[in-house]
């Protein structure tokens, strides 16, 4: 059984996303610990990439700030190792295929296991390309998280059947970033997912308020929030931890966990 399932044992899950090293690694460590303290059930740690093609302007900005601050894949692993001294909730990486490929998939996944990463989300690795990393993910017990999009249609069942850890249901067309309204028929996609797998399913993209989080979590097993948290980091920089903590608490209450 995947360790990630633990994240879905406290009612609906709240999953914050944090770009590692924005604006520096010390801040990331503080922010992660505050998020855990305030009820985060799983944390997505973003390893910055120079050209994040699935991200909107807010997370693009975080990637640029983090890389400008000198973050590297090795430094991210060091941070995870440090976090694991006291952080017990599941942690997953979110990054781009080239970051893993360039590091060497075997070396990357082995480091994930060694430092305590439970899964990985790669937005530019669709179902058809999962064999690029899947065998080595299996070897090291790292869940390769599948994404399902509003345009997936007949692909939903195919992806859900083979999914591991949890399913990341992309709420809307386009890139990451806050949206006033989510118009996709989430309930319909979730029902197809449920017919094909028993693993949990969390909704992300465009969620920024407790109200939206409540709506999305009610239709699924949890809500994922990225850009709204990055905005707090953008605003408060090194002093963001406390503010992120407060936001996480409101959102966790929002999802009704």
């Amino acid at each position: 059984m995947s360790k990630i399932s633990k994240a879905f044992e406290n009612g609906k899950a709240f999953i914050p996303f944090i770009t590692c090293g924005d604006p520096d690694l010390e801040t990331t460590a503080k922010v992660v610990r505050e998020a855990v303290k305030n009820g985060a059930d799983l944390i997505e740690i973003g390893i910055p990439f120079s050209d994040p093609t699935a991200e909107g302007p807010v997370i693009q900005g975080a990637n640029i700030r983090a890389l400008a601050g000198g973050v590297t894949t090795d430094k991210v692993f060091d941070l995870v190792k440090d976090l694991r001294r006291d952080v017990e909730i599941p942690l997953v990486f979110m990054t781009y295929a080239n970051v893993v490929f360039s590091y060497g998939a075997e070396r990357f996944m082995s480091k994930c296991r060694e430092t305590g990463i439970d899964g990985i989300i790669l937005p530019d690795l669709p179902f058809e390309e999962r064999d690029e990393f899947l065998p080595v993910c299996r070897e090291y017990g790292i869940d390769l998280i599948s994404l399902i999009a509003p345009t997936s249609e007949s692909r939903v069942a195919m992806i859900a059947k083979e999914a591991e850890g949890f399913i990341y249901l992309v709420s809307s067309l386009g890139v990451t970033g806050e949206r006033r309204e989510i118009t996709t028929d989430i309930a319909k996609i979730v029902s197809v997912i449920r017919e094909n797998t028993s693993i949990p399913c969390a909704v992300g993209f465009g969620i920024s308020t407790p109200e939206q989080a409540r709506k999305m979590a009610a239709l699924s097993d949890g809500a994922i929030v990225g850009s709204a948290i990055i905005r707090i980091l953008e605003k408060y920089g090194r002093d963001a931890a406390e503010h992120v903590g407060e936001f996480v608490r409101e959102m966790k209450e929002g999802v009704g966990g």
Binding site: N98, Y103, P123, D124, E128, T151, L173
Partner: protein, 396 residues
């Protein structure tokens, strides 16, 4: 390990967000349906001949040949096409395909602006909406082309992220495609990106090598000894090489933009300085750092200023079928001036990279050998930038 669709050796594939998967699957199905359809091909041929001005001339550069004193030099004049470059070959094909698919809107990335202008042109012709993404840096280097696109009725969006050049324009066009798929076709301009783009663009550009073959057989009764073309993403080169791949006696030489030199960081010579990676939907060679961060590449040529190369080129390099040589800014600018003065032909600064290598290569070959250089575009757009490079400030 199983391999996904659209592979050239280990290269290619479909490394894109799930949101786009059905769009590329739909595109592939449409392409397979129409590529051998007589009606589609008749329509496309008619457009290429009567609108784009094909076949393009294969011109014997006699003065240049005499001056260099070696191999006989022919120029494949893609610069004479409507809109001034080879880009129109691919765009007319894709726009026609998009129309058949019921799409009403085209989006495109552009570096030098040639692909953007070609897409804006096709959109005007077909009555489609058009949005072109162009790095802000390039909108400055290629201001004339920005005006042309707007004149043709397109919206031009300057991209400010990253290095504000071609790679960022591609990223932004991909983002826009994920935002709006149902009525929009992403008219990708080079033999790159996710499958089926490298194949579609290659097929539409392969008219170049088909014509070279026919024209040279008529003029000389034989195949060339070498075909030279510049390589950014690599569409004019792939088009120039394609029908010669099985003719092993023909050397295929891609000329990469070395910028200030392949031993500097200011280069865009991907095959010469990059390594295997995954980016913009494909596995291929990319300029990148030790941790896989894509490098901020540089070339004087906005059209070659890209950190990757099409997957089929990466494959031709792997199997040794094509050779990829670096050409610096200085060499390209000299060749730009040389061809203008020697033959009265002002080549695009991109194409000048291929001319520069020919200037080195021709004198080393016997007089009975034949070189074909693809002049992928015309150089009017570059005049102001080259003047600046030479320290002269002229108004465009």
């Amino acid at each position: 390990m199983s391999q996904s669709k659209g592979r050239f050796g280990i290269h290619g594939g479909q490394y894109i967000p799930e949101t786009l998967m059905n769009a590329v699957i739909e595109l592939e199905a449409a392409y397979n349906r129409y590529k051998d359809d007589p009606e589609f091909n008749a329509e496309l041929s008619d457009l290429l001949d009567n609108y784009a001005g094909r076949p393009s001339r294969l011109y014997y550069a006699e003065k240049m040949t005499r001056d260099l004193g070696g191999a006989k030099i022919y120029l494949k004049r893609e610069d004479l096409n409507h809109t001034g470059s080879h880009k129109i070959n691919n765009v007319l094909g894709q726009a026609l395909l998009a129309k058949k698919m019921g799409k009403t809107r085209l989006i495109a990335e552009t570096g030098a602006g040639q692909h953007g202008v070609a897409t804006a042109t096709a959109a005007a012709l077909f009555g489609m909406e058009c949005v072109v993404f162009m790095g802000e840096e390039d909108t400055k280097r290629q201001a004339l082309n920005v005006y042309r696109m707007r004149l043709l009725g397109s919206e031009v969006i300057p991209v400010k992220t990253g290095t504000a050049t071609l790679k960022d324009a591609v990223s932004e066009a991909m983002r826009e495609w994920t935002r709006r798929i149902s009525d929009t076709h992403y008219c990708l301009g080079s033999v790159m990106g996710p499958h089926p783009f490298p194949t579609i663009v290659r097929d539409f550009q392969s008219v170049i090598s088909r014509e070279i073959k026919e024209q040279l057989l008529k003029k000389e009764g034989r195949l060339p000894d070498a075909v030279l073309a510049c390589v950014g993403g690599g569409s004019n080169a792939m088009g120039s090489f394609y029908h010669f791949i099985n003719d092993k006696s023909v050397a295929l030489i891609g000329c990469e933009a070395a910028g200030r030199g392949i031993d500097t960081f200011e280069t865009a010579a991907t095959v010469n300085t990059g390594r295997l990676g995954i980016f913009h939907g494909m596995k291929s060679y990319f300029c990148q750092d030790d941790f896989g961060q894509i490098a901020p590449v540089y070339s004087i040529s906005a059209g070659l200023d890209y950190p990757g190369v099409g997957p089929e080129h990466a494959y031709l390099h792997d199997i040794g079928r094509a050779q990829y040589v670096p050409v610096t800014d200085d060499e390209a600018v000299e060749a730009f001036e040389y061809l203008s003065k020697t033959e009265g032909i002002i080549p695009a600064i991109e194409s000048a990279h291929a001319v520069a290598h020919a200037i080195k290569l021709a004198p080393t070959m016997d007089k009975n050998k034949i070189i074909v250089i693809t002049i992928s575009g015309r150089g009017d757009k570059d005049c102001a930038a080259i003047a600046r490079y030479r320290g002269e400030d002229i108004n465009e």
